[in-house]
């Protein structure tokens, strides 16, 4: 089964790669060796330096120091054109596709050779058939699902007949079933001699797919191993330097329903959105409810309806502590005890160029005195208290939000909301892009909040995280919500099925919208 290493000359060898930015050293003396036909994982937490390393290989970023050897010749990869000329192809985590163009036009843009659009379209069909990928070249990209878009990206990469294919976190947008299909394609590619660099932080996948694994932590290589011979715990130790922290689970003492939606339905606002259909959701005081699902299935729309940024819901369909808030503004919901931590930090949860003290005013009104006068001293004191209590590494209450690292800013934002002693807290992607230490602190803070009697709703793409902190789970798929399931009885496989929308329907339920139109991702 292992057809890797058909020769002793490495396809790619990096030695002593270093790249520093003003606030962080992204790569510090990194070595990497990839053999022909090998599926090589690069494992690390968010912020470990994986993306930077891949950008260096693909020519988007230039290293400050170090050597790159391609098939045993030293090379300088000046830009993506040069990388492609060598035979390196890359599928990015955040797709670089143009929504208003068709799939074929997108691929055409990414190719260097002078071919006509018709030739490219034919080539796409041929390559897709060869690898069993379903791609329609004539459709505009904005009509494609996330899984379909990734297939377009992969076909684009394959058309260049690459000798090294880099995939950056490819499965974060896929259901477990789609992941399996992807692995089939990748194994086929490797058998034909193409090397694959597989960037991920998902231990199970790496152990299932990859031949070798280089582990990065804090910009340095902490180890190179064969993942099939390692346990998850062993890899995890290399990745974060310790066993993954175990969080205490108390038996659940639920209170009454604090946040509830009743058949919440909402038309999408534009062609890029998702229509919500008959969502029934309940969050009790003193429990953590998680909503799992691949991004792009209606999470943003649901969160906007809950937080008050979208007020089109039918009256009676959103209830907060027994009060109808379907048409209430975000401010009113906040005054009634609903606080929200959105997914985007800079630009939404915080104003990037304002200080931490001023950013407090976005969701807290205590420093606003009668007559609209701002109490600057109180703002500063409150901000300082949050900084200290949640261990935020910042210069002080006057530091501008964008000078903080992602993890620290998230700690401040979560702290700001928890500090308001909410009755209901909604959090979206709480630890995305946050380092391990801060992630643990944030999760612990959420659990402490729950223990104090708050109702917590967590929307996340990280199944592991949801399993760790939730008491009950829902899954959102194509704008619909599954029935709830207790975390102790749920399994990743089942949740994976549900993420494709395949939960048992109650008798007489309406069919899901668009079910026939889209091919399953």
């Amino acid at each position: 089964m292992n057809t890797a290493a058909t020769g002793t000359v490495p396809r790619l060898r990096l030695t002593g790669i270093r790249k520093a930015y003003p606030s962080v050293v992204a790569n510090d003396g990194v070595d990497l060796t990839v053999m022909p036909g090998e599926i090589h994982a690069v494992l690390g937490e968010n912020g470990a330096g994986k993306s930077t390393l891949m950008k260096i290989i693909y020519g988007v970023v230039k290293p400050d120091a170090g050597e790159i050897r391609w098939e045993d010749r030293p090379v300088e990869i000046a830009n993506p054109h040069a990388a492609r000329a060598l035979g390196i192809a890359m599928v990015f985590q955040h797709f670089s596709l143009f929504d208003t163009l068709t799939a074929a036009e997108n691929v055409w843009l990414g190719l260097d050779r002078a071919q006509s659009l018709a030739e490219v379209t034919a080539g796409i069909r041929a390559k897709a058939a060869e690898y069993g990928l379903e791609v329609d070249p004539e459709r505009p990209v904005h009509t494609l699902s996330v899984g379909e878009r990734q297939r377009v990206e992969i076909v684009r990469a394959l058309l260049a007949e690459p000798r090294l294919l880099i995939l950056d976190e490819p499965t974060s947008v896929l259901t477990p079933q789609a992941v399996e299909k992807l692995f089939v394609t990748l194994r086929l590619l490797a058998e034909r001699g193409c090397s694959i660099l597989y960037i991920s932080h998902k231990l199970d996948e790496i152990r299932a797919l990859c031949h070798t694994c280089t582990v990065l932590r804090g910009g340095r290589v902490t180890g190179v191993a064969d993942p099939r011979g390692e346990t998850s715990a062993g890899l995890s130790r290399l990745m974060i330097g310790a066993e993954p922290p175990k969080l205490q689970h108390r038996p659940v003492e639920r209170g009454p329903v604090a946040l509830e939606t009743r058949a919440l339905s909402l038309e999408r606002q534009d062609q890029f959105g998702v229509t919500l259909g008959a969502i029934d959701l309940q969050v009790h005081a003193g429990e953590v409810v998680g909503i799992a699902g691949v991004s792009g299935n209606g999470q943003q729309e649901l969160l906007a309806a809950l937080s008050g940024e979208d007020r089109r819901a039918r009256p009676g369909s959103v209830m907060l502590l027994g009060v109808d808030v379907a048409r209430a503004s975000a401010g009113r919901r906040r005054r009634q005890g609903l606080h929200f931590v959105p997914e985007e930090r800079l630009g939404r949860a915080a104003v990037p160029t304002m200080g931490l003290a001023h950013n407090l005013l976005l969701t807290r009104r205590e420093p606003v005195r009668a007559g609209g006068w701002l109490d600057l001293r109180r703002m500063s004191a409150m901000a300082q208290a949050i900084i200290e209590r949640y261990n935020v590494k910042a210069g002080g209450p006057a530091s501008v939000a964008r000078s903080l690292s992602g993890g620290n800013l998230q700690k401040y934002i979560v702290g700001r909301e928890i500090d308001a002693k909410p009755k209901v807290l909604i959090v979206a992607q709480p630890t995305w892009g946050v380092d391990v230490g801060a992630s643990a602190q944030i999760r612990a803070a959420l659990l402490a909040l729950r223990d104090a009697g708050c109702a917590v709703l967590v929307v996340s793409e990280e199944l592991d995280e949801l399993f760790e902190i939730s008491d009950r789970l829902y899954v959102i798929a194509r704008g619909r919500l599954s029935p709830p399931i207790g975390t102790s009885t749920a399994t990743p496989e089942r949740i994976g099925q549900w993420m494709s929308g395949l939960w048992a329907e109650a008798p007489g339920a309406a069919p899901m919208p668009g079910e026939v139109a889209h091919a399953p991702a």
Binding site: T15, P22, S23, K62, P63, D64, A65, G66, E67, I68, P74, V75, E76, S307, G308, E309, S329, A330, G331, R332, R334, F340, P342, E344, G347, R348, A349, A350, V351, P352, T353, M354, H358, L361, L362, T363, V368, G372, W373, L374, L376, S399, V400, S403
Partner: protein, 363 residues
């Protein structure tokens, strides 16, 4: 080669130094321009920067011209900070002059007797309302119809100019004015009282100073001011916080329209004492420059207003004493703004000298 590196925190020092550097560069280029035109650069520059401040009369003239500039700029600063690009201050200025002039003309022609302390405020308020009304057209277009406020407010400038022309050439023309396009001179009760005797400086200057302080409080110490700024800096954050974009839009436009209208009223009821087609010499546009040079900050606008007022007067002096074309002022103003924008990058970026990056050759 030179490379721009983003700074982790915007540089406070550069924020203040940038306009100074831009001014210095403008002066340099101005000097060169004078030489090219065959004039003594020192004399030329002194027209703009020294002569206007020479004596009390000069100072009052600078203060007089600065008043409408600063008033307009204060309102525009609120607008721009809220990311509402009101370019039509000139039109709102004209409507303020028209409204104020209309009221003053009515009082004058009807022979209404009323004391100055009662009449003048009415005239000024009329001007503010006129400017606000004109600005509200733009606000409505953007609020209800999503129309771009830059283009709408600008088109309204041209409409306002034609409206003024119509009134002054037509129904409001002074029948005893020898057919010149001008209204009757307004009766004294409607005019602004003098501030400095023997000069043209009126209390509008004092009002302007008070408003500078008021706007500072509004922008940096008030809840509404905070909301406006968040809306301008990060609209998603404003929506998240529950700040109403609609309220911000209307507040910004009504405030800037009102200020421009007030400025227009002060011109008509102050030095001019009547309406003519030349009520404004482009104050509304110059105020945009004042606003930027003043860093969208009320106190900065005050200093910038004084500076640009000196440039305006310098242009007139240069024309009468050195034979330089008056249009030179416009060149300097535009140049100053350009250089300011270029220097502003230094607030957010550092300039570094970087050697050609090391080639990937092994040890």
């Amino acid at each position: 080669m030179l490379r721009l590196e983003p700074r982790p925190q915007p540089s406070r020092a550069m924020s203040i130094a940038s306009p100074v550097i831009a001014l210095a560069l403008t002066i340099l280029i101005a000097g060169v321009l004078f030489v090219v035109l065959g004039k003594d650069p020192v004399r030329g520059l002194s027209m703009f920067f020294v002569e206007p401040l020479r004596n009390v009369r000069g100072l009052t003239e600078v203060a007089l011209k600065a008043t409408p500039l600063v008033l307009c700029a204060l309102g525009l600063a609120v607008c721009y900070r809220a990311n509402v690009w009101n370019i039509g201050a000139e039109g709102q200025f004209l409507l303020g002059a028209i409204a104020a002039g209309g009221v003053a003309l009515y009082v004058t022609t009807q022979g209404i007797a009323a004391p100055q302390w009662a009449m003048t405020p009415v005239v000024l308020v009329a001007g503010m309302l006129g400017g606000m009304a004109w600005a509200s057209i733009t606000a409505l277009a953007r609020d209800r119809f999503n129309a771009n406020e830059i283009l709408v407010s600008l088109m309204l400038v041209y409409v306002a100019q034609q409206l003024l022309n119509y009134l002054v050439f037509g129904p409001w023309k002074d029948p005893q004015g020898f057919n010149f396009p001008q209204t009757k001179t307004f009766v004294a009760a409607t005019l602004l009282p003098n501030l400095v005797p023997q000069s043209r400086l009126h209390i509008g200057f004092a009002i302007m100073l008070v408003l500078v302080a008021g706007f500072w409080v509004f922008m940096f110490r008030s809840w509404r001011g905070f909301q406006l700024q968040v809306g301008g800096l990060a609209p998603d954050a404003a929506r998240y916080a529950g700040f109403s974009g609609r309220t911000a839009l209307w507040t910004a436009l009504l405030v800037s329209g009102g200020m421009a209208g007030l400025a227009g009223a002060m011109e008509a009821a102050g030095p001019l004492r009547q309406l003519t087609p030349h009520v404004s010499t482009g104050y509304g546009f110059t105020a945009i420059i004042v606003c930027f040079v003043g860093r969208l900050h009320p106190v900065g606008c005050l200093f910038a207003g004084v500076l640009l007022s000196m440039l305006l007067i310098g242009g007139e002096l240069g024309q009468s004493r050195l034979g330089l074309p008056n249009a030179l002022t416009g060149v300097f103003q535009g140049l100053l703004l350009f250089l300011l924008l270029a220097c502003d990058t230094l607030i957010h970026y550092r300039v570094r000298w970087v050697r050609q990056h090391p080639t990937a050759v092994a040890s």
